[in-house]
């Protein structure tokens, strides 16, 4: 099972059926689930979405997400309990050097997400692997998602003409207090896995193997709270550090058709041909003033978000379910859901707002203590969309000056373009970009 030469699934979508059955098989080995393709449990897990909280007792170190496909893994598959976003500066002064970097990253992704024994070297040399996962690397649901920033193109004349049309250096919004040391980058790597050890192991592996081309700029780790299986079997969205469910209105990431229009860049988007199958990644490190939030009246907390805190149901149907759709047309004055409530501003639930849909994939972070002796906690916000301008940027512009701003402060992040997937074992990340750049230089 851990042989890295295992035939690799070539399903185009990271949520392919074979993977799901395989994942279940792995869980069954741990005694958590009985595999039966038609059982209720299997159906439920097959429909799990990015926003759903991981369920206690279902994760296994053998969980494996295929790294091959038209799209990269780590975008539409459900979040495991741990995530990390690392931003790098890229040296790559030539196209060959850049290709070499993409090949190196692909090789490491192929090894780390499949697993296998770490190579044993002469003990007089430093070991090939940090060893923190032991001599056998297990996949642990690992995904490694590589994206590139505007500066990668802007600083390289031979690459600049190929920059995706909406890719730009993130600019501050009114409530931002951006710390230059936590912003931007030539390349971002999102690493997700069941355990933090696996994400750290992957990062250290990449730093060790790609140090010729990559310099780490900043990173932020986070996690998704694991929940007990729900009584009614319906998935629940994970809670953020403000205690509210986050992602109840996220589009269903198991719906491949919806993902094609919302998340993945297609022919109709007018992007450079190499970019097809990619996505825009918006990253924001958003500090939460949790002490202050905890001293805010319960009713005001609910009005700020527009949802009940306990169930996540919209305020106009407090007995409902978090997935119920609020009826704003019936509440034009905002008597039930204030007009400036977070969920109402972010998504008015009308046809215009449908053009601004994004897929959020956030993680909660807890870093330490501020200079003032307060908790440094918040949200590592990551969102994917086929159009950055009508996606994250439009949504954030609608949220500017929302009442929630008193309790949150975006301090870092950046915009990146998630490269198209690694199509097969002979392919590598960024191959279409490199080919296009080579063609243009001739």
């Amino acid at each position: 099972m851990l042989d890295p030469t295992d035939p690799i699934d070539s399903v185009p979508n990271a949520l392919g059926r074979r993977y799901l059955l395989k994942g279940l098989g792995a869980a069954a080995l741990g005694g958590a689930l009985v595999v039966d393709g038609t059982s209720a449990a299997a159906t439920e897990i097959a429909h799990r979405s990015v926003a759903d909280a991981p369920i206690d007792g279902t994760a296994s170190p053998n969980d494996r997400v295929p790294y091959l496909g038209v799209h990269q893994a780590g975008v539409v598959n459900p979040r495991p309990a741990n995530g990390m976003l690392a931003s790098f500066s890229v040296r790559a002064e030539t196209l060959d050097a850049l290709e070499d970097l993409f090949k190196t990253l692909t090789m490491r992704i192929a090894f780390l997400t499949v697993g296998g024994p770490e190579p044993q070297l002469d003990p007089k040399l430093p070991p090939a692997d940090s060893g923190l996962l032991g001599p056998i690397i297990r996949p642990d649901n690992l995904t490694i998602t590589v994206s590139v920033g505007a500066s990668l193109f802007d600083e390289r004349p031979w690459l600049a003409p190929l920059k995706p049309k909406h890719l730009l250096r993130m600019t501050g919004f009114p409530n931002d207090a951006l710390d230059a040391a936590l912003c931007h980058g030539d390349l971002s790597i999102q690493i997700c896995a069941n355990t933090q050890d696996t994400t750290i192991h992957a990062l250290r592996d990449i730093i060790k193997t790609a140090s010729r081309q990559l310099v780490l700029r900043w990173k932020q780790e986070g996690n998704v709270p694991v929940v007990a299986p729900g009584l009614d079997g319906r998935p629940e969205s994970a809670r953020n550090f403000l205690g509210f469910r986050d992602g109840s209105a996220n589009p269903d990431s198991s719906d491949a058709t919806a993902m094609e229009s919302i998340v993945w860049v297609g022919k109709e988007d007018g992007e450079p041909a190499w970019a097809l199958g990619g996505s825009y990644q918006a990253v924001r490190i958003i500090r939460n003033f949790v002490e202050r939030w905890d001293r805010t009246p319960f009713g005001e907390q609910e009005r700020i978000f527009g949802r009940t805190k306990i169930s996540g149901a919209p305020l106009d149907m407090p007995d409902g379910h978090e997935s119920d759709v609020p009826d704003y047309a019936a509440d034009p004055e905002g008597k039930k859901t204030p007009l400036d409530a977070h969920i109402r501003l972010a998504n008015a639930r009308d046809s215009a707002a449908a053009r601004n849909l994004i897929l959020r994939r956030p993680f909660n972070y807890s870093n330490g203590v501020t200079k003032s002796g307060q908790l440094d906690q918040g949200l590592l916000f990551i969102a994917y969309q086929a159009n950055l301008e009508s996606g994250f940027i439009a949504v954030q512009n609608k949220l500017n000056h929302e009442p929630l701003e008193e309790y949150i402060k975006p301090i870092g992040g950046g915009y990146f373009y998630t490269l198209p997937g690694i199509r097969d074992a002979g392919d590598h990340l960024g191959s279409a970009l490199v080919t296009a750049a080579r063609g243009a230089s001739r």
Partner: protein, 272 residues
Amino acid sequence: MRFHGLCGAAALTLALSSGAFAQQANLDLVEPVAEYKLYVSEQVSKLVMDTTAFTAAVKAGDVAKAKALFAPTRLSYEAIEPIAELFSDLDAAIDSRADDYENGEANPEFPGFHRIEYGLWEKNSTDGLAPVADKLLADVKELDSRIAALTFPPEKVVGGAAVLMEEVAATKISGEEDRYSHTDLWDFRGNFDGARKIVDLVRPLIAKKEAKFLKTVDANFAQVDGILSKYKKGDGYVTYDKLTEADRKVLATAVNTLAEDLSTLRGKLGLD
């Protein structure tokens, strides 16, 4: 789902009954809020006067005089900070910090008091500060002209006292507000006076029912007063770095407790 249903129903009943309660509370608060508005107008008039002198010194290139006027000029602004939310655009123009701008002090958009503070203390110069000073004075005057027509929602005024304590606890107690001049104790004076003013105005409304609460709040304000008076120098205060570790600890706990206690003031007054 039954559980959620019950909770939802309970929340609804609570909201209905507190609606009536809130209406009464709003009536009771008419007078205190009107009085508070008067207080704010007086503070802003003083702010305009002081800022005129301060910016004149900056524009005249008189570094020593500008330095001497910086902290006392801010006092009246810091006193009205509980309601800064009501003029957040001007607050950003007058009192934002370098952290609010990418690349901090190097960002040409960094405005207001702290931009001038940076020039005066870090560069010991008024070079390039004249347009910043002009803009500051214009913004302060704009604030003055806005106050009369500004609506003061009672929950914002009462909530503002708590919010200011939150700000002190989150981003002032560390000394990061006046990081170049270290005149933070002046600001604290303004902040605590301004918050206390609000508590005093609503005091009669809860004096009987909440005697114990008020006693705790008063005790914490008194502790802060005690610390501040220890560091008095002339008309003002010594620099923040002179504060002993022990006193900083007392100040921090007093501020945190005040933030914790004052966060319940709105609810105690029946405000939603």
